[in-house]
């Protein structure tokens, strides 16, 4: 699978916000690639830059104050950053579909589902209204909306959260995109509904051979659907690995902290190991490693040197001074 050319290749992406209070380096140097048929997970705390990464790919960063200051986003080999708005528009919704976090607010409340689907299809395909409608029905069937004919003319508020998320997915899939970006698609949903949606994602991936970027803060979700994972912290990648490897041999203190701080349903209960401190404020990041103030293994040098992302193992990258020299894992 390594031989496949990547569908999307993000190189050294820097997206900054220039606000009155100072520059917010929301995304500050990340690299990753997604191959067709692969699911890449991006996890991290709130504000770590996950959504901004996704928005950068689609060229939807509000500007001003936001700006992609450096890097490249190569989609099927072409740099999206060089494209004009009009060309981007042809990629958005057609080549790259996007599903957002909150299904309650992501659909326009004043238009019917039909209108919102048809307009997407017609924006990209040379379809008649009738054809677009048929396609919409097909899609609603695909994402498992019962009685799609009747539901097509309903307004978003007439659907439950899970249904709305299915509709969002249907819209994202409308033009058979080769890449689907899902920004916390299940966070706002109940577990039983979340399970349904995750199941849908797995099915889609199997059936449609897309690349998927799954953004989440839930390691459980990552473990269930992702092939590879990038852990982000304060706008930078902390660790990048194949999913199984990450859970078994996670290395970055933040990754480890994250894993240890979530309660698990295991026969014996043990005390949670919390990560101290608060998530960083991107306005005034400390010099050196941004995780240093909360890190259990902080060293003198951590406060001064911002480490690079290093490959510590096959396809396993970590950005931590602890691993600068050796490839030894730190015992947890």
């Amino acid at each position: 699978m390594d031989t496949d050319t990547p569908l999307l290749d993000v190189v050294n992406l820097h997206t900054h916000f220039f606000t009155k209070a100072g520059t917010v380096k929301a995304v500050d140097g990340i690299d990753f690639s997604v191959k067709p048929g692969e699911t890449l997970g991006i996890v991290g705390e709130s504000g770590s830059g996950k959504s901004i990464t996704a928005m950068s790919i689609l060229g939807l960063i509000p500007s001003p104050p936001g700006k992609i200051v450096d890097g490249g986003i190569y989609f099927k080999g072409e740099n999206l950053l060089d494209k004009k708005e009009k060309q981007l528009r042809q990629i958005r919704g057609k080549e790259i579909g996007m599903v957002f976090q909150d299904p309650m607010t992501s659909l326009n409340p004043v238009f019917t589902v039909e209108k919102q689907m048809v307009e997407t299809i017609r924006a990209h395909e040379n379809f008649s209204k009738k054809q677009a409608r048929d396609r919409s029905l097909e899609l609603l069937n695909l994402v498992g909306i019962p009685d799609p004919k009747k539901r097509l003319t309903s307004y978003p508020h007439e659907f439950s959260g899970g249904m709305r998320q299915r509709i969002m997915i249907a819209i994202a899939l409308a033009c058979n995109p080769s890449l689907l970006i899902a920004d916390e698609p299940t966070t706002a949903l109940d577990v039983t509904i979340q399970a349904q949606i995750l199941d849908l994602f797995r099915r889609m991936q199997r059936e449609l051979d897309m690349g998927i970027i799954m953004i989440t803060h839930d390691l459980g979700v990552v473990s269930e659907v992702c092939d590879r994972v990038m852990v982000m912290y304060a706008g930078k990648p902390a660790e990048f690995s194949e999913t199984k490897n990450l859970f078994d041999h996670g290395k970055h203190p933040y990754t480890l902290g994250l894993m240890n701080s979530i309660p698990k349903i295991t026969p014996e209960k043990h005390k949670l190991e919390a990560i101290d401190g608060v998530p960083p404020d991107l306005h005034g990041l400390p010099k050196g490693c941004s995780f240093a103030p909360r890190c259990k293994h902080v060293m003198e040098s951590c406060l001064n040197i911002d480490p690079e992302l290093k490959e510590v193992d096959n396809n396993h990258h970590v950005r931590c001074l602890l691993y600068e020299d050796s490839k030894e894992a730190v015992s947890t």
Partner: protein
């Protein structure tokens, strides 16, 4: 390993990230600082301060007495002696406008004061206690709102007799529904918040909850409405004076000045123009400031 960050006293709480304004822990103080950041509201504030100073120092600023007449010198165009010209009785318009500032401030404050006191009382009672009290109060407010406000004010002044005081009362009464509705809706929304539930949970009584928790949190919109309301009150009162139902001569009330000068619009437009400009500036000042205040106090805009 030197664990520098650990040496801070509150390890458990994490580093406290508040370098931005370390000393400003009061919401109002902070809002004030935020106001100063907005150009328009600073302009508004400047206008208001200038107006207040003008009112305070009117005798020093005015070049003439505001009531001294000189019938031969009526309708003089602006000149070195009379900066803004003279009116139908040869009084100095500049000086009258300067002294008129006092009247306008008085109108604004008193009229809005009336609207606010009555409106806040009605609105908070309706919002907090709900049910039939709310029903009755809001129906009365609806009835008042169904009345065109200008007509209501005119009717009130005609009943009370035309005078500045009565015009202020009328304008104040006309402004009540706005306050009542505003306060009611903020009380309703604050009432639903968890900290109000918390205050119930810790055993606070109704009055404590209303005055200690709910009303202080409705203050922002009330203050904004007051600022903007002063502008509206001035406009309404000037309108009444324009119709001859407000300030009585020789009070240099701007609306009345404008109305008196109207007969000479063709020959002496300055008599009409300048009081109008004064009203406009006054209202503009409060609108600019009120706008800035609204933005500054709006929790949504807080980062």
């Amino acid at each position: 390993m030197s664990l520098q960050p650990d040496s801070t006293p509150d390890t458990d709480t994490g580093t406290f990230n508040n370098q931005e304004h370390p000393k400003t822990n009061n919401l109002f103080k902070e809002s004030f600082l935020r106001i100063l950041k907005s150009k328009t509201s600073v302009i508004g504030l400047c206008i208001i301060i200038i107006l207040l100073l003008t009112a305070l120092l009117a005798p020093l600023i005015a070049t003439h007495s505001p009531t001294d007449q000189s019938i031969v010198n009526r309708y003089q165009p602006p000149s070195v002696d009379h900066w803004l010209g003279t009116d139908e009785l040869g009084r100095d318009i500049f000086s009258r406008i300067v002294f008129g500032t006092r009247i306008s401030i008085q109108i604004g404050v008193i009229a809005v004061g009336i609207s606010m006191i009555v409106g806040v009382t009605l609105g908070s009672i309706a919002g907090y206690f709900g049910r039939w009290i709310d029903m009755i109060i809001m129906r009365v407010i609806d009835i008042m709102l169904a009345f065109p406000s200008v007509l209501l004010a005119i009717a009130l002044v005609t009943i009370l007799g035309p005078s500045l005081r009565n015009a202020m009362i009328a304008v104040g009464i006309v402004g009540v529904p706005q306050f009542a509705r505003l306060v009611r809706s903020s009380v309703l929304s604050v009432k639903e918040t968890e900290y109000i539930e918390a205050s119930k949970a810790i055993g606070a009584r109704n009055l404590r909850t209303l005055f200690g928790h709910i009303l202080p949190n409705c203050l922002a919109p009330i203050i904004v409405q007051m600022t903007l309301g002063i502008g509206t009150a001035i406009l309404d009162a000037a309108g009444l004076s324009f119709l001859g139902l407000g300030a009585q001569p020789p009070t240099p009330e701007w609306g009345a000045m404008l109305s008196d000068g109207r007969a000479a619009l063709q020959n002496a437009p300055w008599v009409v123009a300048f009081p109008g400009v004064a009203i406009f500036l006054f209202v503009l000042g409060f609108n600019l400031f009120g706008d800035g205040l609204r933005d500054a106090l709006d929790p949504k805009l807080k980062d």
